[in-house]
């Protein structure tokens, strides 16, 4: 079964999305991450989407749902690596991803979680 792999680094879960996700794959990622946060007592979730050529409203909503769900479970989500063209398009589409913390790359995302004491 298709799945996006989730890596554990200390108290952070790292997800690198490298395939063009169909909707079910995105839903499965939300489910898997939610279970993993609870199981590993993670405090941070880092989602790297630098390989994604587009983020449409469905994938955008999944990202927002992951951020909201992790917050309820006391973990912080940081989205990293969004391509500039994707950011412009997403805003034009009407999705500014409020409530989702972002960083330019994985390194800065990790720093952000460090600063928040989430690792």
């Amino acid at each position: 079964m298709d799945r996006i792999p989730i890596l554990r680094m200390g108290r952070t879960l790292l997800v690198t999305v490298q395939v063009d996700m169909h909707d079910q794959l995105a839903v499965r990622l939300l489910d898997d991450l939610t279970m993993m946060i609870t199981k590993t007592r993670a405090r941070g979730v880092l989602i790297d989407i630098s390989a994604l050529d587009i983020v449409d409203s469905f994938i955008g909503r999944m990202i927002a749902d992951i951020a909201a769900t992790s917050r309820i479970l006391d973990a912080q989500t940081v989205l990293v690596g969004m391509q500039p063209a994707v950011a412009i398009t997403l805003v034009e589409l009407g999705m500014a991803l409020p409530g989702v913390r972002t960083a330019l790359d994985v390194e800065r995302g990790m720093e952000m979680l460090d600063d928040a004491g989430e690792r």
Binding site: D20, D53, V86, I88, E92, G94
Partner: protein, 140 residues
Amino acid sequence: MTPASADPSRPVIRVEIAENEDVVVVRQRAREQAQRAGFSLLETTKLVTAASELARNTLEHGGGGYAELEVCTEGLRRGVRMRFVDEGPGIADPEQALRDGYTTGKGLGLGLGGSRRLVSEFEIETAPNRGTKVTVVRWK
């Protein structure tokens, strides 16, 4: 909408939309056509995102259908025309459906209205029980 002539040397690509994975195929084909039309990265990203939204609409609200994607020209300009056709329940009030936040189901209601902002021309033909046909053009 001004009728843009199809380029005879460039074939219409047809994609059946019956399941989730087909939306990904539509995105890939839209990207190929954008490259054929010489779109920039940003133009390509906007076209492919619009294709994704409209293909999902065809699947979720139309119960499936097909997409036709072609490079088109009008005078000196080039663009990509995309048509999404289903034989689903249709839309009683298209203007309402185009408004942001209007949704009949699990979506955010950004599909139609959002994709309209990402293209140059947008046309919708629909009526209750008559299916829905959405035609969009994005010019380079």
